[in-house]
Amino acid sequence: MKYVDSFRDPAIAAPLCDRLKTRGAALAARGGRARIMEVCGSHTMAVGRHGIRQLLPENVTLISGPGCPVCVTAPGYIDAAIALARRGVTIATFGDMLHVPGSEGTLGECRSGGASVEVCYSPRSARDLALARPDREVVFLAIGFETTIAPVVSLVDLALREHIGNLSLLTAFKLVPPALRAVLDDPEIQVDAFLCPAHVSAIIGPRTYEPFARDFRKPCVIAGFEPLDILFGLCAILDQMVEGRASVENLYERVVHEDGNPIARALMDRYLRPVAARWRGLGQLPDSGLMLRDEFVRYDAEKRFDVPVGPGRESPGCLCGEVIKGKRSPLECPLFAQRCTPTDPVGPCMVSSEGTCSAYYKYERRMRA
């Protein structure tokens, strides 16, 4: 696979790991340690899949951040989707959402009960469903961060151009920078640097992170999702820390350009406006989400079907909120691998395959035993 396998070359990984160790030692010599937050769930997954945590020096810790859209989706959103499905609407969704617990159950269970829930790889499949079944209402579960928002919102663009009347979005779009700010504003969270997301950055551009480097003195390094990208990104963070610098570095230049993707941002801006959003774990954050502008209200499923998205009920005892903020490791949660497993998840971090708890369960549980 071109541009994939070459970034997994073990012959280069080995010296990169040595380099990491040397930089870790240099930091330790100055009495330092590094708590690095990998913001994005795809980084969390890649770290687990390639066993990267084991390759790190002892004084370097990776903390998983709030960058998994499934994990931060509030239970009330799932409740609204289930209510729609029970009303006879066809729900089209990314596979990730099927097993996220709402207050009373999951969409997967709802499907087993006879509701129409279709799994799509691309939002365009929702448009195909709507065209194939003009007698049915199709609602796409419009979740995601900056990377996913433009593809999903282009459905509205398609619906307008093709006069599709039976397609709408249940939106819960979220933005990464406000979540990073919330992490930094919390005095209990100690993060020394950010490993910034690859594909979100491709949309928003590296400059967005400048306030975090400048005002909070946190190194911000953008890296791709392949293991060499991650290892090199971590080296760059340690370099900055050893040298006492804090700047934004883009190490994923092959995809992330200086001004991001203006076409995607223009599309988002045409259809969407900022709104306060509810995050599982982080609570309500101002201007941290996007919703359809008033003139496109007919594509807004929440209003079209009058299913207000409430806060829902989070599972008691679940530490996902703390895990999402990087305050606690999944291993510190009393439910982890006991009452909460991927088969029977209590919290969202166990549901999403890129959720921190799920990644720990899947790749690291018994490695630590």
Binding site: H199, V200, R254, V255, H257, N261, A264, E354
Partner: protein, 78 residues
């Protein structure tokens, strides 16, 4: 949050949709979010949409740099 793969654009249809290819796997790719896509270009595909072009020169330079640094670190590391 954003699983995506690099695909090479194999063809572009009149409606602007393209066919992307990765090691024998092909998929329809919506190209409307990238500037001036051309056949032969590599794009990063997320959920069926090209979200950005992949710059082959940058990729080549990065890999060359990796190799160079790896060689020098190997030589100098204790």
């Amino acid at each position: 949050m954003c699983l995506a793969v690099p695909m090479r654009i194999q063809e572009i249809r009149p409606d602007g949709m393209g066919i992307g290819e990765l090691a024998g796997t092909r998929h329809e790719v919506d190209l409307s979010l990238v500037k001036a896509p051309g056949v032969g270009d590599y794009v990063i595909v997320h959920a069926g949409y090209a979200i950005e072009k992949l710059d082959e020169n940058e990729a080549g330079e990065r890999l060359a740099l990796f190799k160079e640094l790896a060689d020098s670190w190997q030589v100098h590391s204790p």
